[in-house]
């Protein structure tokens, strides 16, 4: 995502100029970097600091011409330095989430709108006297109906007739899922989202829909998109390997119409009281699918739609269903997500805006955490394991500790039942104090600063809450 050719320039100029948070008094923190570097780079990094100051001055006052020569020399020196730092930095580079949940797309099934001439909307009009003006025929039928859909007439027509005929339903659904014309896809989304929710006062559907895709058909559409629904990732993969399934990188792109699928699932789960929709276990599977979709960076721009869909699915469940379904979803997610930054993402992507969604976030965090330890099921045992980690041990994997921290934070924060459990809270506090105190500020292990500052921050928060 880095836009600049020369990252150094980017950091010193652009970011200094735009960042609101560069407080001069914090500059001493720059020295903290030296600890990350081997001693023999100390000299060079001081030079960089000088250059950075210079760059800052430059951006404010414009440089003096006479300094140009010196600047050029220095900047060459700095470039060399920077290269070395980057090489060094690679070792403890931050790890990122991101899975390829899409494989090769299948070509969409062919669809002929042959049933059109048999649909009653078409038949009742062809012989109508007004057709002398409209000139509708079997040949022009499809493009005419595309116009009816794209311009919003079709919705009015079906609600007037009280029925969506099978041919119309299948045809519009096909356009929604496979059409490459945005205007048709988007009109078909609007059409379906609207007809699903048309209802009388007594919650009965005011429009009969003669064909609604079954759950297996819905999954089938996703498979033609290349979605890898049943890819097992529960083997303990290394964090460096973030690919769910190794495959040809050029064919792992989700199709544009994935948005239509997401929107449809959201609308469909909202219509539970009106139409016969999913079973609870099918809806559970769909929640897992949405979590998987949220793990693919290529769908990052659809987070708003994905969040809405997730909430619609969570709201699909009754409170009774949710208490067990929530755990099923959490277990299923935990078994699929690799034990790296993706597990953090799988938790943080849950829009925890109300009771049931908070519970889901907490449950997913807990079950992923369980997965890190063998044969552990009990809350107390897990957290005891955390407190017994020897952080001073050089072989201790601080990256994992960081993940434990985030997971446990979410597990506690979003579960109201844990608030009163004094024992668990005390042990959680102990773990936080360990992370914050046992890691020295000069600790050069990767993730050491992250663990330490995260723990201190959380410690502050828990202190605020308990007093």
């Amino acid at each position: 995502m880095e836009m600049e050719d020369d990252p150094f320039d980017f950091e010193s100029d652009a970011l200094l100029a735009t960042s609101p948070v560069v407080a001069p008094k914090r500059r001493k923190k720059v020295l903290g970097l030296d600890d990350l570097l081997a001693d023999h780079y100390k000299e060079k990094s001081r030079a960089i600091e000088r250059e950075s100051r210079l760059a800052k001055t430059k951006s404010t006052y414009n440089s003096d011409d006479e300094e140009d020569g010196r600047v050029a020399k220095l900047s060459k020196y700095v470039d060399e330095c920077h290269e070395k730092i980057t090489q060094l930095g690679d070792e403890d580079d931050v790890s990122h989430w991101g899975l390829n949940v899409f494989g090769k797309q299948q070509s969409p099934p062919s669809f002929v709108f042959s049933e059109l001439s048999s649909c009653s909307l078409f038949r009742s009009f062809v012989n109508h006297e007004v057709n002398s003006l409209v000139e509708l025929s079997t040949e022009s039928g499809e493009s005419f109906f595309e116009g009816l859909l794209a311009n919003g007439w079709l919705l009015k027509l079906v609600s007037e007739c009280g029925e969506v005929e099978k041919s119309i339903a299948k045809w519009t659904f096909h356009l929604m899922i496979y059409s490459s014309k945005e205007v048709l896809t988007s009109a078909a989304i609007d059409f379906w989202c609207a007809i699903l929710l048309l209802k009388n006062e007594d919650e009965s559907p005011s429009v009969r829909i003669d064909w609604i895709p079954s759950y297996s058909e819905l999954k089938c559409f996703l498979e033609t998109y290349g979605f890898l629904l049943h890819s097992p990732t529960n083997d303990s993969k290394d964090s460096s390997d973030t690919e769910m399934v190794p495959g040809e990188p050029e064919c792992t792109e989700p199709p544009q119409n994935i948005r239509a699928w997401i929107k449809y699932v959201a609308a469909f789960s909202q219509s539970r009281n009106i139409h016969c929709t999913f079973t609870a276990s099918e809806a559970e599977e769909l929640v897992v699918v949405i979590v998987c979709l949220l793990l693919d960076r290529q769908l990052l721009g659809l987070s708003i739609d994905l969040n809405e869909c997730m909430l619609a699915l969570v709201n699909f469940f009754t409170d009774d269903e949710w208490s067990s379904s929530c755990v099923n979803v959490a277990k299923s997610v935990a078994s699929r997500v690799p034990k790296d930054m993706n597990s953090v993402r799988a938790v943080e992507c849950i829009p925890a805006v109300h009771g049931p969604s908070k519970l889901l976030r907490s449950a997913i965090a807990f079950h992923i955490l369980l997965g890190f330890f063998d044969k552990v099921e009990d809350e107390e045992v897990v957290i005891r394991k955390l407190t017994s980690i020897n952080l001073k041990d050089k072989t201790c994997d601080l990256f994992k500790v960081y993940i434990y921290l985030v997971l446990t934070e979410n597990w506690f924060l979003y579960n109201p039942l844990l608030e009163d459990n004094q024992l668990l809270n005390e042990m959680w506090g102990l773990f936080l104090r360990n992370c914050s105190c046992q890691i020295n500020i000069t600790d050069s292990r990767s993730y050491a600063p992250k663990v330490r500052s995260k723990a201190s921050y959380l410690l502050q928060g828990t202190a605020d809450r308990s007093f």
């Binding site: 003006l133 007739c161 769908l299 990052l300």
Partner: protein, 446 residues
């Protein structure tokens, strides 16, 4: 309301959360910085949105989040900050406004204003709307550029803020005639600001709305250029952007429309306040937005279709088309058709009637062409049939002349007349769709 809610007194929360951002140092990669900012956003979420009785984030924190949305170049940060801001607004309505009107800004804030400060000025807002009209062009270039997406989300957020501020104030005005409160609404402050030209702002909204609406209609899924030699991460970002754009363009178009509709509502409230004598000279006079829009529409026929296509408020759409057509309908024809002396020359039924006469029709299409007449009638018809569900007690449209079967019949005869008046003109596809709908509705009603 929200503004009266208690702010954190101890400041510890602010300091701790803001400190997450302060770990910035020069040797960190942009990824490290982005990472810290994401942690900051997550910390704000868990600190302020989880517990029911959490305090309101401080202005400093709001500004920092807004700043991230405004300048960041990472899709992750843009999406996260946008969502967080919306959620905060939902949770703490009107707790913070990104707008600054120049009076409360200190001189030092003014100096680094724009790029650095986490607030928005009226001029910035107008510039943003101008930028949005360029989104369709930018979206088609090959360079990976997050700016169009960022601008669109930024605009949607700002409209959301304006709406959250305007709607309760306007409601209070209609209920308690409190003009002073409405006068101080963000929307009114923006419109009366001397930093921008009000008319240009309305015109820019109009053209932006049309540009975006047109883009949504023309956009195809397989026009994406294939870029080789880029890194995996840029490639992913490019895909993400391409997948996100159509939906975001659509919602942005809706947000521009929302802004225009609020301006129109404010116009009518102000008109009422003017009539009642509640306004003062300081309130000034403004040309109503609908007049500006109608002028623009008669001036530039190219935006007629995209505008009415995008406008989804049937009542307003119908009123505007009737007003538009009225200018071109020979006066006498309307007067003779008055049935009971009411103002039915301003109803859709009245307009349709004037198309039942060959001479009238000829004189109208001489002025505005048959195509435009067809489009307007079809759009008006569409708005009309959508009305009953939204305005079931539409008294003006409830006369016999305006009953649904009559309107359907009159639509068909108007188009028959149009066809007769000029044998060479084809009926537009959109007109045909309207006729089809009219015929089906007639057959269902009988």
């Amino acid at each position: 309301m929200g503004s009266k809610r208690k702010r954190v007194g101890d400041g510890g929360m602010e300091e701790n959360t803001m400190a997450i951002l302060d770990t910035y140092c020069f040797s960190k990669s942009t990824q490290h910085i982005a990472d810290d900012r994401l942690s900051f956003l997550e910390a704000v979420r868990s600190g302020f949105l989880v517990t029911e009785n959490a305090s309101v984030p401080t202005n400093k924190m709001y500004k920092a989040i807004f700043q991230i949305l405004k300048v960041e170049n990472s899709l992750d940060l843009i999406m996260t900050s946008y969502q967080l801001l919306l959620e905060l607004d939902k949770h703490f309505p009107q707790a913070w406004s990104p707008f600054s009107f120049g009076t409360d800004a200190t001189s030092s804030e003014k100096q680094d204003h724009g790029k650095v400060s986490g607030s928005f000025d009226v001029t910035d807002f107008h510039l943003l709307i101008e930028d949005l009209s360029k989104v369709p062009d930018e979206a088609n270039t090959e360079i990976l550029n997050l700016q169009p997406l960022r601008n669109m989300l930024l605009f949607q957020y700002l409209v959301n803020v304006i709406e959250g501020d305007f709607v309760p104030r306007n409601l209070a005005f209609t209920e308690h005639s409190d003009w002073n409160n409405l006068r101080e609404s963000l929307l009114n402050m923006i419109l009366v600001s001397r930093k921008i030209t009000y008319k240009t702002l309305v015109k820019d909204c109009l053209s932006t709305m049309c540009e975006l609406s047109q883009y949504s209609r023309d956009c195809s899924h397989d026009t994406r250029p294939d870029e080789t030699g880029s890194t995996e991460i840029t490639e992913k970002c490019r895909t993400a952007l391409a997948i996100a754009l159509p939906g975001v363009v659509k919602s942005t178009c809706a947000a521009v429309q929302k802004l225009l509709l609020m301006i129109i509502e404010l116009d009518s409230s102000k008109k009422e306040a003017d009539l009642e004598g509640w306004t003062t000279r300081a309130d000034g006079t403004r040309t109503p937005a609908t007049e500006i829009i109608l002028d623009e529409l008669s001036y530039d026929k190219n935006i007629l279709f995209p505008f009415f296509q995008a406008l989804d408020k049937p009542k307003l759409k119908l009123d505007m088309i009737v007003q538009y057509l009225k200018k071109y309908i020979p006066k006498t024809s309307i007067r003779t058709r008055r049935s009971n002396g009411s103002t039915d020359d301003s109803t859709f039924g009245g307009v349709l009637n004037s198309f039942s006469n060959g001479n009238n029709t000829k004189s109208i299409i001489k002025k505005i062409s048959s195509e435009v007449a067809q489009l307007l009638l079809a759009h008006a018809f569409q708005a009309y049939i959508l009305l009953p569900s939204q305005h079931s007690t539409e008294s003006k449209e409830d006369t016999a002349e305006n009953s649904r079967p009559n309107i359907c019949k009159d639509m068909i005869s108007a188009f028959t007349c149009l066809k007769k008046a000029d044998k060479h003109t084809e009926i537009q596809p959109f007109g045909k769709e309207a006729l089809f709908t009219a015929a089906i509705m007639l057959s269902r009603n009988s």
